[in-house]
Symmetry: C2
């Protein structure tokens, strides 16, 4: 920067000021800098900037498992919005591991971001570590809530997800049984089960919860194995299956196809399968998956605007808001 400044005969602090806010220098000076910028390819070092600025233009985004297209997609939207708003996003994936999540937060502290959007691992998160991080860095939680941690939470209203699918299936003549993992990492899974039980109660229907074995993030395989077992044992309590999430459902559909069981809402089909999330691939399963869709757009938009609000407020908010978005039922062919 010193070189560049000397080269065009403008002082370094003025150049620095320009990069902080181009409008803070006189238009004639701005023009000279911008002309020089075209000629020589100087670019300030963002990491050196972050080391010194009180308020940086970097936003950290942390997701629990980026190889899950759901998170990949929401991360993509968040990154795009950050860029549009003039910020530089920095994306991290915990890859399902607590130690990595912790290490990422430690690194983020060093990056000194203006704010962080954090989708925690959930059950396997190190609560104390995240709490300590949130005390130091303005953070909005999304997707998985951790009660009382972070300045706000933005996510989806699990109750509305399940109520729509359950009501749709029962209204159209079937009793949904609930298909899920026994020990889900994501807290949303528990909320969905509770919602299922609650809604079935309201509708005076007998609830059936199928809990399958499995650890980790290979949900499709877990769903497939679980489904194969249930289908093989002919242990399906009803002929309408409501999966906790789309990735399990993708595995379930695969198992059905393998066993020659027809899936769909038509009369001739043996079972119906519905689910939750509207995973990017839910449209392309065979049959296409009936599911309750996240409002990706609203969640990503609101998460970022909440973060900007938090940043403008100096990192503290009076109350910890929890903003939940309602699901939208997407009726496709599977149920």
């Amino acid at each position: 920067m010193a070189e560049f400044a000397a080269l065009i005969g403008i002082s370094r602090p003025t150049i620095s000021k320009y990069f902080n806010d181009p409008d803070s220098v006189r238009s004639s000076t701005r023009d000279r800098i911008e002309a020089a910028l075209k000629q020589y390819d100087y670019r300030p070092n963002i990491y050196a900037i972050n080391q010194n600025r009180r308020l940086t233009k970097t936003i950290g985004i942390v997701v629990p498992y980026l190889a899950d297209p759901f998170f990949a997609e929401i991360a993509r939207m968040l990154e795009r919005r950050c860029i549009t708003a003039g910020y530089t996003p920095s994306l991290f994936s915990s890859h399902g591991e607590q130690s990595l999540e912790n290490a990422i937060l430690d690194n983020l502290r060093a990056l000194k971001p203006a704010g962080v959007l954090l989708a925690p691992l959930g059950r396997t998160s190190d609560r104390k570590h995240i709490e300590a991080f949130c005390r130091d860095v303005p953070t909005i939680l999304f997707d998985s809530n951790i009660e009382g941690v972070g300045a706000a939470f933005v996510g989806s209203d699990n109750f509305s997800f399940v109520s729509q699918t359950v009501e749709y299936i029962s209204r159209t003549g079937h009793t949904p049984c609930f298909f899920e993992m026994k020990n889900p990492a994501n807290p949303n899974a528990n909320k969905r089960r509770l919602a299922y039980l609650e809604i079935m109660g309201r509708l005076s229907l007998e609830p059936y919860v199928i809990q399958i074995e499995g650890e980790g993030w290979s949900f499709e395989e877990i769903g497939r194995q679980g489904a194969l077992k249930i289908l093989h044992d002919k242990a399906l309590p009803t002929n309408a299956v409501l999966c906790s999430n789309d990735r399990l459902a993708i595995g379930f559909l695969s198992a059905c196809h393998e066993m020659g069981i027809s899936v769909g809402r038509e009369e001739k089909c043996e079972i119906r399968v519905a689910s939750h999330d509207d995973h990017p691939y839910a449209r392309y399963t065979c049959p296409s998956l009936t599911t309750a869709a996240h409002d990706y757009e609203s969640v990503s938009e609101h998460a970022l605007s909440a973060l900007f609000q938090l940043i403008e407020a100096g990192g503290r908010l009076a109350t910890r808001e929890e903003k939940l978005f309602t699901a939208r039922l997407v009726m496709r062919d599977s149920a």
Copy 2:
């Protein structure tokens, strides 16, 4: 670091030396530092370190589109290997945009990584910009090759992919037609088409190339729309379809299901569909997708070991090696 050093009564340069290489200090000193590290939670700032060290412990990973599970999966493997090797990976996605790819490379320069693993956008990459970057930062290209750019290329042997699928399909009694996008961004697509034509020639079979419209990275939708059109027009030249990649095939299968066309290798099925990549979801399509699998493990392992070699050699290699891994045919139910 100064505070921490004062606190435990060891000089700052010694602490710095310890973090650079714990074995470079006397064992008694090491023990004292490590004991203090447990007590107080000091962690050096990685970005400040990178600013100053000649050779950092950071590795940049850039992929063209992270919401594509193929890249998400390979990125995950690369990150894990970096961590195991004692490096800190930093992951970026170009989101399919040249301007973003360029911006990422500019940022990476500032990060001063020891090396970079770059999967470029391909056709839409800014070759000059990437070349300039590779001159300054030790870089290994992977997935998409750009002739002469980067210290080495690690990828898959497209010819072996296509030869295995074509030979398998023709050996088992059908003539594969090739299904692809008209203007693919990824250079592998072109290589696959050429391989198809070459192999069909060798087998003295009439080649048929179906090129569908579509721009961007929504390959499933592009494949589905293309397939719907072809199937509707009954314009399929043969009853065995070889898709350029699995994501197109996923769309193709979806279209077949929608139109009630049975897919599989069994006699009773109307058409067979095979593809290339072994996408993480290829196992879960209905029917499961016969495909030529990337050797993910070998590619990620070799890409990183090539990078370490490059780093140890001081950033320059005598010759630019191109290492290609052979495909493995995965026979599933779709063909």
